[in-house]
């Protein structure tokens, strides 16, 4: 299965037409795919909270938006999630690379990984963990759920989901 294409197809099918990204090795293929789709306006951000501001604006401007980022970003976006996205009740699918989980080769990444789900739980953010490739079949339902309930929703995609890191 081409995960990049599947994720992008589901975004388009759910009328997500505004996507902001910060660079990520794991999500590079999705970012590239999104960049090529005429149905989606892709605007790279310098920082994840800037991206959440852009998404909030785009949503109020009438477009469904999404953000693609790394799980380390949870550490820098707590305030924005609480005082913007959640406070004003805006939907935001967050497609997140979940570094530091199984098949992670860089020890430092584990430090944030062990906090990621706890922080999301503390924020009362619905969270889904894609570990096997078949988990992506849920993505369409997750998007529908996100726009139904007007909440930020986290989709954590770990290294196993993306096929590992090649030579380890």
């Amino acid at each position: 299965m081409n995960l990049d294409k599947k994720i992008t197809d589901d975004l388009v099918a759910n009328d997500v037409s505004f996507v902001t990204t910060v660079p990520c090795k794991q999500l590079a293929g999705v970012i590239e795919e999104i960049d090529q789709r005429k149905e989606i306006f892709h605007i790279p951000s310098n920082k994840e909270d800037e991206g959440m501001g852009l998404c909030a604006g785009a949503f109020m401007g009438g477009k469904r938006s999404a953000i693609i980022m790394q799980n380390t970003a949870i550490g820098v976006t707590i305030n924005t999630l609480a005082t913007l996205t959640q406070f004003y009740r805006m939907p935001l699918p967050m497609i997140i690379s979940y570094r530091g989980e199984l098949r992670e080769p860089v020890a430092c990444q584990v430090e944030m990984a062990v906090h990621t789900k706890a922080l999301l739980a503390q924020m009362h953010i619905p969270t889904y963990h894609f570990h096997w490739q078949k988990d992506v079949e849920e993505f369409d339902n997750i998007l529908k759920y996100t726009f139904m309930c007007n909440k930020p929703v986290a989709i954590l995609t770990d290294a196993n989901f993306w096929g590992g890191y090649g030579d380890q």
């Binding site: 505004f18 306006f41 605007i43 790279p44 951000s45 310098n46 920082k47 909270d49 800037e50 991206g51 959440m52 501001g53 852009l54 998404c55 909030a56 604006g57 785009a58 949503f59 109020m60 401007g61 009438g62 477009k63 938006s65 305030n79 924005t80 609480a82 005082t83 913007l84 406070f87 004003y88 009740r89 805006m90």
Partner: protein, 184 residues
């Protein structure tokens, strides 16, 4: 002039425009001077007025004016290259540059010393950067709206805050009426 005096002066120009206003005293002042459904008041999230406004402008065709502050823009400096490389014709960013963090008691920012926001915006790729003195804000803003050309305006003024009540409006109400104004 201080910020609230500038807001009073440009209020007729802001009428019925889509406005995204910076957190804290700027939003309180705008709310007290000219509340309207097309004002989006930020009640938190310092630094993102420019990003939210840009997002609204990119998503639809109506003119969007973000009212931001020098301290707030310094918090989110990455916004300038993002605007510089993606600025639509319907977006105007007004940075009220009073050289201080107004909402926290007017502690000085670096723009009150050596940092030049207009120069930074130009270097970031913003094509149409206008720097004006407080008394010239109205004509410059009207010109930017009429030109229908994405603009970053830096308005140099004195530091100081008017005493205004806090905004008690529910955030979801603020969002809903703003979205209706966008769609209307």
């Amino acid at each position: 002039m201080i910020r609230s005096e500038i807001l009073k002066e440009i209020a007729p120009i802001l009428k019925d425009q889509l406005i995204v206003c910076n957190i804290g005293i700027p939003s309180q002042e705008l709310h007290a001077i000219m509340d309207q459904p097309s004002n989006f008041y930020m009640l938190g999230t310092m630094g993102l007025s420019s990003s939210i406004g840009l997002g609204v402008a990119l998503a639809q065709d109506k003119t969007v004016i973000s009212i931001d502050g020098d301290g707030s823009v310094l918090t989110n400096l990455g916004t300038l290259p993002t605007i510089g490389n993606n600025c639509p014709d319907n977006y105007i960013l007004i940075i009220i540059d009073n050289g201080s963090y107004g909402s926290t008691g007017d502690q000085p920012t670096y723009t009150g010393r050596k940092t030049d926001l207009a120069g930074m915006a130009r270097a970031a790729g913003c094509d149409n950067v206008v720097e004006v003195q407080d008394v010239d804000t109205g004509p410059a803003l009207q010109a930017a709206i009429d030109a229908r050309h994405g603009t970053v305006m830096i308005v140099k003024c004195d530091s100081g805050n008017a005493k205004m009540p806090v905004i008690t409006m529910d955030p979801v109400i603020i969002k809903d009426r703003f979205m209706k104004a966008v769609a209307g």
